[in-house]
Amino acid sequence: MKVIPNAHKKVPMMFRAQVRDRSQLQYLDPKKKKAGEKQDVELWADEWIDKAELISGENAQDITTDTFQAKSYQISWRFVTNGGQDDGMLRPVIGASGIPFYPGSSMKGAFRQACEQLEKKGDIPLGSCNNYCGDDLEITPGLLRFQGAYPINDWTIGLLDLVHPQQGWQVMTRDTNDKPRGESAYAQISLYQPTLRFAISCSKPLLPDRWQQIWQIWEQAIAAGLGSKVSTGYGQINQTSHPIVYRAKLKGQGQAAKLIDDTGEFRPNIFRAAIRGHALRIFGGLTDSETAQQLVENLFGGIQQREATVGLLGFQFQASKSDIKPFGSGKYAQPAYEVEGELVWFLAKPLATPNQELILKKLVGKLMQFAMILGGFGKSWRRVDHRKFFEEYYEDSYKALIGCHWQWLGENTQGRNVQVSGLKQVSGFLDNVRQTAREWIQSQNNPLREAEWAQDWRESWHPSNVQVWGRIADNADESAAVRWFHKPYQQRIQGIQSEGSIYRSPVTGKIGQISLIWHRMYPLIVLRRDPENPRKPIIRPSPRYLEIITIFPDESTESNDFLDFMNSHPEQFEQLWGDKN
């Protein structure tokens, strides 16, 4: 038989040892990135899709016969299923001809669960579940065969999915040059907006209304989310069968996440990351660090002691508009998103007691408002969008895109969420956020131990760890603080004052080190009480902004100097919250 020279260099990634320098699919090698080489997982995906086939949508129409039916549904963002074959990486089951496949067994599991819930609620007759899916006790087979699903659009685009856990780095670590373990980016394979065609067959002919019921049950099943990581936004279609906790329409612009191949993507899980982070900050200011982490784990799920838990909350973002456009040039070229849509938080599993529901609703609302008033979502969320508030900055195009800008959209959302329409309301709002968090802690049967708050975290939300300053800006061009991040805030005058600057200091942060300051221009909306309809306020938009600086002082000289400067009330800034120093 012929001997292949240097065979080991020609072997596809899948068949190599899953170790460094042979094939490490989950790990992203910074050296390779620098050298412009492809990552192992990119080679793996290329090798896979090179030989894989597509099923054209035309050849896979919906089918309606009395013994077999097929229907297609589109996943709104990404879809991840783990076949469990590879320990090192999440990847879908790969079926015949290399086509990714959602197994019939998983489909049956999801169907059965939805069916049991509907049966319990009395929406379908008792016994339907055993009739359709089979009966364990009697060992009778069910009527239905679940054939699984294949994608019928081009599923080969955007497969590589970067996941970047960074909660410890963003909130807890003091020295942000030193990233906590396990928080480096890793790769997984997920399908991007696949249209999945699900097929079900039946051992005997069924009447159309029975088939209709079967598909209704199936729609209930997929509305709960399919595959894994559903509470992080994966596997969702544009409706949910879970009870809704909170909904709001939002509009935002900012720097898009980059995929491995540097194309941009708007990743809805930025909402979850932000809200989760804020929950941790706020709980960290009210109770000890362990309890705070446990509370967040219960709310949002996560992995502690290698045991994955599902949280109470899941979310969906339905974009009504989503554009990715390039920004900047040369090495500053970045993808930027512009997006509008509705964000929904839902209850992913039942509450321990139903009376917690009201307080949970209040908590999620407060966390969302907190995120919208003080920061933003996604990359560079601690800064205002420089394109909007510091246009001159980009007169020279060799500048990085900085910041993001988010606002409430639509009168219903505004009417419910505008809590702050002037400087005076900020402190009351922040106290209210903490009070709501206290109520949640108590509803979880955790004792309040406020004296033991997480003092060693960088961003725990406690009055002695954070100061909030604010002023009113008349319009988008009137941001006072945006310039302080780019040049000295105070000029040196011989014999009178020294130069004061946070520019390029640890206070403002840099790549790899997180800033001590958040800066936000929150669009002011004024609500007037309508005497005719006291339940629905009149909404008055305004060109003005609430300019807010949130600072977590760290005792450094630069930080102390900056606080002294703030205490001189530049540009009418006043301290709105936190202990005075």
């Binding site: 038989m1 080991h8 072997v11 068949f15 170790v19 460094r20 320990d87």
Partner: protein, 136 residues
């Protein structure tokens, strides 16, 4: 030449019992091994390196299975490479993978067939010797 059983089943039983004594939870690796065979010798061999230092008892189970394969194949006259390799040493890994893929294709096929059978035996014994997790 007379018939020779090569005692795959005995070898598997010993591997499983040794693994069970080290750490009953590592036994389930047998199922992973049976699946990994499909990806060929190199990937199977590499798994003990991936687990090394992280999940030591699992790593040892994979390595001992590889050692067993090497011994059995040696008895039948086929030499399967089995260098001592440290996971951090890229050179050693490259050398081993080069050696594995340089094996005559016939030998690779026989080795994979034997490894498949050995893993089937491992799974069989695992199911007999499995220690169930105590339910709370």
């Amino acid at each position: 030449m007379g018939w020779n059983s090569y005692e795959l089943d005995r070898a598997a039983q010993k591997l499983v019992l040794d693994a069970r004594q080290r750490d009953p939870q590592s036994l389930n690796q047998s199922h992973n091994m049976r699946m990994a065979v499909a990806y060929g010798l190199e990937r199977f061999w590499g798994e003990h390196l991936r687990l090394k230092g992280r999940e030591e008892t699992k790593s040892i189970f994979w390595k001992e299975t590889w050692d067993a394969l090497q011994r059995i194949m040696q008895n039948s006259g086929v030499t399967i490479p089995n260098d001592a390799v440290v996971p951090s040493n890229t050179g050693q890994i490259q050398t081993m993978s080069a050696k594995l893929w340089a094996l005559p294709v016939e030998d690779q096929r026989v080795a994979i067939a034997v490894l498949t059978q050995l893993c089937d035996c491992l799974v069989w014994w695992t199911q007999r010797y499995k220690v169930r997790r105590e339910r709370p």
